[in-house]
């Protein structure tokens, strides 16, 4: 009989079904964390404890893995996300200038979210789109050949709303 999470939140149940699909295997931890983040948007302590309890893994291991990988976030993301690729190709094509301009404009650093919870600014280590460098991912859609101007234009569309 599957244990229900105390909160009664259905997403925990969906997550548990996913774990069952992986037979609660220890080496499925990363896949489970992916699913958890997809369902909840970010990994809060309570969620990590749930995963650790269900997979029968020490909480320290789950936390270690969740903080090691760039993809996982332990803080809630903003309404919109802007991921600037900082891979080698994008970097030499001026990704540093793009991120610099966005940071200055939004008054936040990479990895942070604006105070009004509107925009999260993130970086990635090569998203595999080197041919269209520098690439920026706005709300999940990869956009080619960005400049500080085009990036600010894109972000201002979100800020205006």
């Amino acid at each position: 009989m599957a244990l229900e999470h105390a909160s009664g939140d259905k997403r925990f149940k969906i997550l548990e079904v996913h774990m069952k699909k992986h037979q609660f295997r220890h080496d499925a931890l990363i896949e489970i964390l992916h699913k958890a983040q997809e369902l909840f948007g970010y990994l809060e302590d309570d969620l990590l404890l749930f995963v650790s309890y269900k997979l029968k893994l020490p909480p320290s291991r789950v936390y270690g893995v969740a903080t090691f990988y760039h993809f996982f976030t332990l803080k809630p993301k903003g309404e919109h996300t802007c991921v600037v690729c900082m891979g080698t190709a994008c970097y030499v094509k001026g990704a540093d200038k793009v991120i610099g301009a966005v940071q200055e404009h939004l008054k936040i650093k990479a990895g942070e979210t604006t105070a009004d919870n509107n925009v999260s600014l993130l970086t990635a280590r090569c998203i595999g789109a080197c041919g269209i460098a520098p690439a920026v991912v706005y709300d999940g859609s990869v956009t080619p050949r960005q400049s500080p101007e085009s990036a600010l234009e894109h972000i201002n569309k979100w800020v205006a709303k």
Partner: protein
Amino acid sequence: MAAKTLTIDGKSITAEEGATVLQVAEEAGIKIPTLCHLEGIYDVGACRLCLVEVVGVPKLLPACATKVAEGMEINTDSERLRKYRRMTLELLFAERNHVCAVCVSNGHCELQTMAYSLGMDHVRYEYLFPKWGVDTTQRLFGMDHNRCILCTRCVRVCWHIEGAGTKNVSGRGTKSHIITDLNMPWGESVSCTQCGKCVQACPTGALFHKGSTAGEMERDRGKLEFLVTAREKHQWVVAV
């Protein structure tokens, strides 16, 4: 098990298959400097101090994590190795706030001893001076992250000997640090059994018994070896 023949520093040696270069060298009386290696627990090759030269391999290999092979020619001491070992050590010092004079492990510290033995008289790199805290929430022990070199001995004894898995490493790069459970104060940890094996394993003054002051923290590594021998071989070797 098949025997392998190899040479270390020109000395020809026969070793069992599956043994590491470090084990074989030690048996032959050849000392290789180590920091993250601890007798009784598995090796991870984290500190890079045991790097050795293998003829025919362009890069340096960690002796603790390299298995012996037939016909291997190994050098454990050369100008190049000394240069890299000093560099590694200096980077370890520059990475956190190691102040020997006020450290609980002053005089009994493996990092300090290593710096003396490798002739490290100054650090050529800019110190990072990171702002790390001290966790004294635990009843018996304390953890000063400023003195941690991330050798992960504490993580491995907790995992391998005690079996609790209370400690682990969080983050990456300069943000890496040792955590307790979900990065909570040690005193609030549910899984910690307060056995103190991590404190016995620590090479520096990062983990200490509460109440010890500068230079007072001494460790008993024999306790760990005693436990491993008892668990794995069912031999309780109590030194009289």
